[in-house]
Amino acid sequence: MIIKILGTGCSKCKQLEKAVIKAIENLGVDANIEKITSINDIMDYGVMMTPALVIDDKVVSSGKVLSIDEIQEYLV
């Protein structure tokens, strides 16, 4: 599974990244995390508010920092 975190590098994006790493550890799933930081690339996902979470090329959330529990639900 490929997980992408879209964000220009602000503190919320880093929070989301930490939460995602934690969620993956908790579940023990096999996943690659990619960070997308260029605005134009972020736009290609149609996301207007960062941070956003993309799982297997599908935007699952944008504009907020998800909690670890919420991320785990998306990962299952």
Binding site: T8, K12, N40, M48, M49, S61, K64
Partner: protein, 432 residues
Amino acid sequence: MKWKNEWKILLLMIGGFLIAFFMPMNSIRFQNAIMESLYMLKEYAQLHVILCLLPALFIAGAISVFISQAAVIKYLGAKAKKVTAYAVASVSGAILAVCSCTILPLFSGIYKRGAGLGPATAFLYSGPAINVLAIILTARVLGMEIGIARAVGAIVFSVVIGLIMAFIFRKEEQEKVNKQIVMPEAEVTRPLWQETIHFGIMVLILIFANWGKPSVDSGLWAAIYNSKWIITAILGILLGIVLNKIFKMKLWKILTTAVAVVLVYILFKGNPIFTFVTGIIGLSYFTSTSEGEMGDWFSSTWGFAKQILPLLFLGILIAGSFLGRPGHEGLIPSEWIVKLVGGNSIWANLFASISGAFMYFATLTEVPILQGLIGNGMGKGPALALLLAGPALSLPNMLVIRSVMGTKKTVVFVSIVIIMAAISGVFYGMIF
């Protein structure tokens, strides 16, 4: 050792060493500047932190948690009516731009996928300028008129700038990408009136707790000033009721805070600051230990505090050492400032708006910098010009804007902003 990776660190060390080595300890001007920066820090700590910044942080935190940003973005989509899009773009910065990380993605989103170039530039321009924290601090430190002029100027000019941009580039119809915009999901289901009451009370607390002593000792303003702590206390009680009834905060938590506040009031009679702080501590403790909305509110408030306060602290020290407090000189002689941005000439306004446009201001640091400049003889017009051009633009963000809409549009946008800011400065300087 790999010099390729280490040379920057070495350069920094050499720079730091040279500064320390040649520090002009005996120069009176230098000694004054150091003292000035500390005086200015103290002034902020005493006057602006507890009654102004702390409540403002809670308000900003509440905006980012309780207001549905998705509901606003919907008006900036590709199908939105033009008039609505401009109107929403010009004022929505107050809600959407509380975090700098949302401005640029939103701008390019509106430009490429949404309502188009005009509304996008309107948003880009007004967003940073009508940030709630920035307006509150501007009004508090630099005076009410300039705080209001900043907000109103930003909103009005953003629409004008957006329209000019859309007109100049009307032929370059943006090819619409078919891909749909992913709208952030609306999470907030709370009726608007409940949130309005919550905000209203917090804003009123901010206003009344900061009510300044009027110059005359009678009349309505003086009456309000004399009873400002009673009014603030009543508002505090109302806030407690709202938190309990609407946000379902447990009654014992609110009563505990209330009892603590009353105790501190009795112990430190005559010093309302302690009482106010106790209220804030109570609110912080019980929101931070709550789950759900209340917990989110605190963590977002705390996030802003962590993000903004260190930068503001540094900004105050630097502004203090370079410019000094009003009426005192820092490293830069006052005559220079008077020569460059004193009075209200077109040249002074233009200089202020150009330097503001290229300079980078970390959130809120424009306020102490301007305070220093005004105190050293900067005119009111140029001050507004700098406020209107400054936070919206900086060299680094011009580069990002350029990567989104190209060199030509960026140059036009920057020039329009500079010219408009200078013109509004001239007018403001003539009136006040």
